[in-house]
Every structure is written in structure tokens, then in C-alpha cells.
């Protein structure tokens, strides 16, 4: 069930021969009690006012969740048991990150361009950076990527952007069920022979609504009453079960 809200905002960059015209199936994701992930359809067109330039066209779409500080710990064997030893705090790692491209990423995007625009998850996290106090910080960043990729909170979707007639493009990106609230930055890059020729940015708002919103707000703003409410529910449930069972027995 996709809502087709077309956002037709143009980037005013007359120097470039090509521009991105973008549409999103939805620019807002509402987290309800039954929320089980969401699929976003991102589609658009390449607008040209001059004849088509030379070079292979590539399209890259990225979605990044709100950044959150995480601690990556390493286990080592000490006195025969495995314990957490060193830890590295990584500030500003995105809680979710997806990269979709029209061909393998290293074909549509040059190395220098990748670093400059921080497109791939590695360059995104290296830019965030770990403190210099740890010698092999890159091992911790690699571990963060490995664990998040396994959990599908980091996704690399190569060949998943469909390009028609060198003009129309579309892709579907699945947002997982375990989603954090916030603004999800969405970027679209057009490349010619690995060079970025145009880009476009927008945000998708992910928000809790209804009961989810109400409970979350209450727990933060009136924690004492929230705690008492939790206890009251617990006591009431305990009493109800006990009463129901004694009725059943008689």
C-alpha cells in the first residue's frame, strides 16, 4: 500500500547539464503498534536541457538513519575466560544506512568521489571517525559494519536501481521493523563515468504515532507516573489471573 506523493522540487544548478527530478512513494513513515517495517519506492527522472553528454550513466541512492553514539567492544582471553577488554566509542554512526546503485558501486563511483561525498558505508563511517587513541581503530569500524550488515541495518543494494532509457530510474528500499525515530537523510547521485554530475537531497520523517507516541512521551516527561502505571498494571494483572483461576476451580 504505497502512497504516491510526488515531490517535484528542482535543484537550481544551471551549470550542470543534467539534474535529478525525484519522487518518493512516501516522505513520512508512521510507526504504529503493528509497524513491521516499510518499503519506500524512490523514483525519478534525469532532466536535460542540452543533448545527452558522453559517458556511462550511473544512479546511486542512499538513506541514512539518525546518528547515534555506539560503543564497540573487543573480547580477549584473560585468565582462561573471554572478557571485554578495549572499547571504542564511535559518535555519529548512522542507526540505519542503505546504498542502492544501478551497477556495482565501484563501477558507477570513483574512489575519490566516494570519499568526497561519503557514499559507501566505509567512507561514511571513516569520516565519522574513531578517536586516535586506539591504534587499530579501523578494526572496530570494520566490526561495526560487519555486525550491522548481518543485522540488515546496513544494506548494500548493488544493481538494485533500475534505469530506463538513460532517463527514468527507480528503486525500492526496505526499512527494517526495528527503526529509530528521526529524520532519514536521502541522497541521490547521478554519475557519468564515475564522476558525480548531479545530486539531490531530501529527508524522510520517521515518527511514532498514536499509542506509541503517547507512551514514549509519558515515559520521558512523567517517569514517576509512568512507573506507577506499570506497577498498577502488573498488580491488576496478577490479581485478575488469580481471581479467574479461583473461579475456574470452583
Amino acid at each position: 500500500m504505497l502512497r504516491w506523493l510526488a515531490l517535484l522540487i528542482l535543484v537550481a544548478l544551471p551549470a550542470w547539464a543534467e539534474e535529478v527530478v525525484l519522487g518518493l512513494s512516501q516522505n513520512e513513515v508512521a510507526i504504529t503498534t503493528s509497524f513491521n517495517g516499510s518499503e519506500i519506492l524512490i523514483f525519478g527522472a534525469v532532466k536535460r536541457e542540452a543533448p545527452m553528454p558522453e559517458g556511462e550513466l550511473g544512479v546511486i541512492v542512499t538513506i541514512a538513519g539518525p546518528p547515534e553514539p555506539v560503543t564497540v567492544r573487543r573480547k580477549e582471553r584473560r585468565f582462561g575466560i573471554w572478557v571485554n577488554t578495549e572499547a571504542v566509542e564511535i559518535d555519529g554512526a548512522p542507526s540505519y544506512y542503505a546504498v542502492a546503485s544501478s551497477a556495482p558501486l565501484d563501477e558507477v563511483l570513483g574512489i575519490r568521489e566516494n570519499l568526497e561525498h561519503r557514499v559507501s558505508v566505509t567512507s561514511k563511517l571513516n569520516a565519522v571517525g574513531a578517536p586516535d587513541t586506539v591504534l587499530d581503530a579501523s578494526a572496530y569500524v570494520a566490526a561495526l559494519i560487519r555486525i550491522n550488515t548481518a543485522a540488515e541495518t546496513f544494506q548494500l543494494l548493488e544493481d538494485q536501481v533500475v534505469v530506463d532509457e538513460d532517463t527514468l530510474f527507480r528503486t525500492r528500499i526496505r526499512l527494517p521493523a526495528a527503526l529509530t525515530e528521526g529524520a532519514y537523510g536521502t541522497r541521490i547521485f547521478l554519475t557519468r563515468d564515475g564522476e558525480v554530475v548531479a545530486n539531490y537531497e531530501t529527508t524522510i520523517d520517521v515518527r511514532k504515532v498514536g499509542l506509541e507516541r503517547w507512551l514514549f512521551t509519558l515515559s520521558r516527561e512523567n517517569p514517576f507516573w509512568y512507573g506507577l502505571m506499570s506497577l498498577a498494571i502488573a498488580i491488576a494483572a496478577g490479581w485478575t489471573a488469580s481471581a479467574a483461576f479461583s473461579v475456574l476451580r470452583n
Partner: protein, 305 residues
């Protein structure tokens, strides 16, 4: 049926949670343990953030213990007087435990300490109970009457004697206060209600009859976990009420069933089962510490943000 949890910020299967709650509830009603030492690792396993799991489960234990206590009250197997004395010691102990916990946290490695605490206490208590109840079962099988243990040691020479009619004891209030105090300290450090330490302590140290022990233990667990819930809700905002409701619906029903199973069983059988369960959890934790993990790194939310 998937449900999104507002505080934990993950989506989980509602029936899975109902089942888990029910299973732990049965154990709670049978043995008088809160079940925290089982539920915490299970919740970690299905992807609930650890801080939310520990806090929410305290709230769920309030429900299943309350349900269990009502069933025991009807059977008059709760020693309210003894429970109150243990509780007084327990709350003082819990406060001391929180102070100790924060001190250890400032030194780092509190996580390891908690795990080692679990392995050592579960291992020692489980092994002792197992051997003791096995001997008791052998003796009953041979037909020899179990000698009623009447210890006339130091414990009976202490002042401030009090009569605990339901338990059939006339002892000083000092031992129960000390038991409550030390269990309170351990419970606060290990983040559980402390039932699995309290139950053996009541049986072996205070000499209370097994039937009374279960109800009395549940009685004091209600207050300790209610206190913990409020503490977590107001300081860490980690109590997830939706998760708690799902767990406690299963939990309260399970506790009622567990109480009925427990009453039908012999005391030695009950003790040997609890001992086995404690040993299994201990074995799993020890295994995790000793065997090389497949992923040497772990990612967690940075604390204090």
C-alpha cells in the same frame, strides 16, 4: 503477529513473548523464584536491548509474583511475619548493593563481575541443593525416616527471639535480617529479585519448611522488584510497558499453573528440579565465558546519552 515496542524500539512477535512469559511464570509459581535469571538472557537473545530487558522484566516479575502469592495466601503457605523481616533486611541490602554497583561501575568491568557472580552463585547453590535433595530422595526410598534437623548451635543462642508460627520456628530475628541483607546486596548487583538465592537460604540457613518458603519468597520479591521498577523507570527510562504487558499476561497465568504443580509435588522433587535448572543456566553462562566467541566484537549503545 508483530508488535512494535515504543521504548525498546524493536518489533517482536507477540506470541513469542506470551509464551516466554508463560514459561517463566510456571517456574516462578513452582519454585518461588522470580525467574529474572532466566528471562534476562532470553530477552537478550530475541534482540531486546539489555537495559530495557532488565528494567521491564522487573515489572513483569511484580505481576507473576503477585499472582503467585495470592494463590499461596489462599493455601496459607505464606509466612507474612518472616517475609516482612526478610524484606526489611532486603531493602537495606538493595540500597547498599546499588551503592556498591555504582562504585564497581566507576572501576569498569562491572559486566564481567555480574557474569562471574552468576556463575559462582548459581554453581554453588545448584550443586549443594542437588546433592542434598538427592540424598533426601535416597533416604526416603530406603524407608529410613529423615531425621528432623534440630540444630542447637549459635543460631539458637542469639537474642531478640521471635515466634514465626506459619514456619513453626522460634528463632532470633538476626539471622533472617542478615539473610535478607546479603540477598538484597547480591540482587542489586546481579539485577534480579534474588529468589534463587533466597529460597535455598531460607531452607538451609533458617530451616523453614519448603512449602512455606515458596510463598514467602514470592511475597518479598514483589516489593524488591517493584522498587527496582520505579528506580529504572525514573532514572533510565528503560521500562517498556508494552513489552511488560505481553510478558505478564503469559506470566500471571503461568504462575497460577506453576503454583498448582508445585503443591502436588514432593519437597525433595521440587528442590532437585530447581537445582537442575540453576545448574543448566550456570553451565550456559560458564560455557560462554570459556569458549571462544565467533564474533570477538560487540556493539552497544554508549551509556549516558
Amino acid at each position: 503477529m508483530q508488535i512494535y515496542l515504543p521504548i525498546a524500539e524493536v518489533s517482536v512477535n507477540a506470541f513469542l513473548l506470551l509464551g516466554l512469559g508463560g514459561m517463566v511464570g510456571v517456574l516462578s509459581g513452582m519454585f518461588g523464584v522470580g525467574g529474572g535469571f532466566l528471562m534476562t538472557p532470553l530477552l537478550f537473545f530475541i534482540g531486546i536491548p539489555p537495559a530495557v530487558a532488565v528494567a521491564t522484566e522487573a515489572n513483569q516479575i511484580v505481576a507473576s509474583s503477585f499472582s503467585g502469592v495470592l494463590a499461596h495466601l489462599r493455601r496459607k503457605t505464606v509466612d507474612l511475619k518472616m517475609g516482612t523481616v526478610l524484606l526489611v533486611g532486603g531493602l537495606i541490602g538493595a540500597a547498599l548493593g546499588v551503592l556498591l554497583f555504582n562504585y564497581l561501575k566507576s572501576l569498569g568491568q562491572v559486566d564481567l563481575l555480574v557474569r562471574l557472580c552468576y556463575v559462582v552463585f548459581l554453581g554453588v547453590i545448584g550443586a549443594l541443593m542437588f546433592v542434598e535433595s538427592l540424598n533426601a530422595i535416597r533416604k526416603t526410598a530406603k524407608g529410613t525416616a529423615i531425621p528432623t534437623r534440630k540444630k542447637h548451635g549459635l543460631i539458637h543462642k542469639l537474642p531478640f527471639k521471635m515466634r514465626f508460627r506459619v514456619s513453626g520456628l522460634y528463632i532470633s530475628v538476626i539471622p533472617p535480617l542478615l539473610v535478607g541483607l546479603s540477598v538484597g546486596i547480591l540482587a542489586a548487583i546481579m539485577g534480579v529479585g534474588g529468589g534463587f538465592i533466597m529460597v535455598p537460604a531460607m531452607i538451609y540457613l533458617l530451616g523453614m519448611p519448603t512449602k512455606v518458603v515458596v510463598g514467602t519468597s514470592l511475597f518479598q520479591i514483589i516489593f524488591v522488584t517493584a522498587f527496582t521498577t520505579m528506580l529504572h523507570a525514573t532514572t533510565n527510562y528503560t521500562v517498556d510497558i508494552v513489552l511488560a504487558v505481553l510478558l505478564l499476561v503469559g506470566g500471571v497465568i503461568g504462575a497460577q499453573i506453576g503454583t498448582r504443580i508445585g503443591v502436588r509435588m514432593k519437597a525433595e522433587q521440587l528442590r532437585i528440579l530447581l537445582a537442575l535448572m540453576v545448574l543448566v543456566v550456570c553451565g550456559k553462562l560458564a560455557f560462554d565465558l570459556l569458549v571462544m566467541p565467533s564474533e570477538l566484537f560487540s556493539v552497544g549503545a554508549t551509556e549516558g546519552h
